[in-house]
């Protein structure tokens, strides 16, 4: 188990990593929705 | 019109513009000298300055390179001169080589001044045995920098935000030249106990860099200025 003084560094790494990826993915989804609303005809039939 | 003739004409034009406007002499060289003085203020230690003199010479060269490249293409984008050249059917490789030649000439003058400043201000020592290495270092490094400067200058020319974009693009690219030229110059001048024999491998790197960007630039320049 995580027991040593390294803990903050280790946990910090995981938080930074998954946090950054999650934030980027979220931004992507928001942006996709916003852009899709602006282009009716060209809306790609991805769904 | 052969590529080489185009290159000579373009280089001649750029150098003539420089000769008449004297932007290099009146603005860039004083800026270069100023940078060397500012380094002394920042580092504030004579022995340290002598030890790092080669590095400072090349660092100052990189900063001045940005300014000179901006100028090199500013003369083209004003009045759409570059477009006119393109439309005239001039071989883009020739334009690239010509501008690189003009840039190299201006860089050579700049580096001479910087090296002189290093000898005077930082009390760098000159070792006669390293003279050949010194000249070779400066020639190969200058060639490489000229090719890179022309290529990236062309890429950023006429684009909005190019003043801040050019440094961001160019400085990482010229890092190998900074490393190689500094180490070779240290070897040539005997700084920090280096001997000329340690410098020659770095010349290989500098030559490779110059070859890569010379070839790449000649091929790619056309597509970059085709707007």
């Amino acid at each position: 188990m995580i027991a040593m003084l390294n803990a903050p560094y280790v946990i910090g790494s995981y938080v930074v990593t998954f946090g950054a990826i999650a934030a980027y993915a979220w931004r992507l989804v928001v942006r996709a929705r916003r852009t899709a609303r602006e282009i009716p005809a060209e809306d790609r039939p991805w769904t | 019109m052969s590529t080489w003739r185009v290159a000579r004409l373009v280089a001649g034009k750029d150098l003539r513009i420089e000769w008449r406007s004297r932007v290099m002499v009146n603005q860039v060289l004083p800026f270069a000298a100023l940078v060397m003085v500012l380094f002394a203020f920042a580092l504030d230690n004579d022995s340290v300055l002598t030890r790092v003199a080669p590095g400072l010479v090349w660092l100052a060269t990189m900063f001045c390179l940005l300014v000179v490249v901006q100028r090199l293409f500013a003369v083209e984008t004003a009045d759409g001169a570059l477009d006119a050249l393109r439309v005239a059917g001039v071989h883009p490789g020739g334009i690239f080589l010509g501008k690189a030649l003009a840039l190299a000439a201006q860089l050579a003058v700049l580096e001479l001044v910087l090296l002189g400043a290093a000898f005077v201000l930082y009390r760098a020592e000159f070792a006669a045995g390293g003279a050949v290495l010194l000249v070779t270092t400066f020639s190969t490094a200058t060639t490489g920098l000229a090719f890179v400067g022309t290529l990236y200058g062309g890429l950023a020319a006429g684009a909005k935000g190019r003043e801040t974009l050019l440094p961001l693009l160019m400085l990482p690219v010229v890092a190998p030249v900074l490393i190689g030229a500094t180490r070779a110059t240290e070897a040539a001048l005997g700084t920090g106990g280096a001997t000329p024999s340690e410098g020659w491998p770095w010349i290989g790197l500098l030559a490779l860099f110059a070859a890569l960007f010379g070839a790449g630039g000649t091929l790619a320049f056309g597509s970059l200025i085709d707007e």
Binding site: A20, I21, V29, T35 | V173, A175, W202
Partner: protein, 246 residues
């Protein structure tokens, strides 16, 4: 412009949803094994747990840039020229910058634990930092404006040059600092459960990469379509003005 009821998830397909689910499951496994189930290293103790995300993100960052380089080359070659390649290059570069940033941060934190410093000038680290800055410059160039083709051409040339520069930078730094005493400690032998965890990391990050690039590229396609659409609208308006009875 009628609101499309399906635009809750405008860029997702069945495949991408499945992919996303798999990526989430993989990430959960990685968290489980990385933080809890895998054992501590003999030498590095808990520090090795950072490796389970540092190594995969480095691997993906390099993969992303290779993809950018290849698709840029594909765009430049006349026979395969298509804006599809340009968008793939841009999407991959953006995700690559993300993973490269993660690599540098996690590597830095690991270095703090193992070597005592956040940074050292060894060739791999320095080349990674160089690559990071280069691709930020690449992304800046993509935003310079102009037509889609101009953007594609400029950034494609830049990407190909960047791929050629990397070995130059790598070797110049390597010759500059030939003694990397610290490097030996890093990738010792990872056996058993630790090796398994590393694989979990690699697989889940690869899934994440593909999902992110897929969506980023689709958003780019929509952006381009919107730009074109906007142009068509403007042209139509001008034409209507001309036809208006006066």
């Amino acid at each position: 412009m009628t609101p499309d009821p399906a635009s809750k998830r405008p860029t997702s397909t069945q495949f991408s949803r499945g992919l996303g689910a798999a990526a989430l499951v993989g990430s959960a496994w990685l968290l489980l094994f990385g933080l809890f189930l895998s054992p501590n290293d003999r030498v590095q103790k808990t520090g090795v747990r950072i490796m389970y995300i540092h190594v995969p993100s480095a691997w993906l960052a390099y993969l992303a840039f290779i993809v950018t380089g290849l698709s840029s080359a594909a765009y430049l070659w006349k026979r395969t020229r298509s804006l599809r390649w340009d968008r793939l290059a841009g999407a991959s570069a953006e995700v690559g910058v993300l993973f490269m940033g993660i690599t540098l941060v996690t590597g830095s934190l690991w270095g703090r634990i193992s070597w005592g410093t956040f940074w050292t000038w060894d060739s791999r680290l320095t080349t990674t930092a160089f690559l990071f800055v280069t691709y930020i410059g690449y992304l800046a160039v993509r935003d310079l404006g102009g037509t889609h083709q101009q953007r594609a051409r400029r950034s494609a040339v830049l990407a190909v040059l960047a791929v050629l520069e990397v070995p130059l930078v790598h070797f110049s730094v390597k010759w500059w600092r030939p003694l990397h005493q610290q490097e030996s400690v890093a990738e010792g032998e990872l056996k058993g459960l630790m090796l398994f965890t590393l694989f979990v990391g690699l697989i889940s990050f690869t899934l994440l990469y593909v999902w992110l690039v897929l969506h980023r590229q689709r958003v780019m396609e929509m952006d381009d379509a919107r730009d074109d659409h906007g142009l068509d609208l403007a042209l139509a308006e001008r034409r209507n003005e001309a036809l208006e009875p006066r």
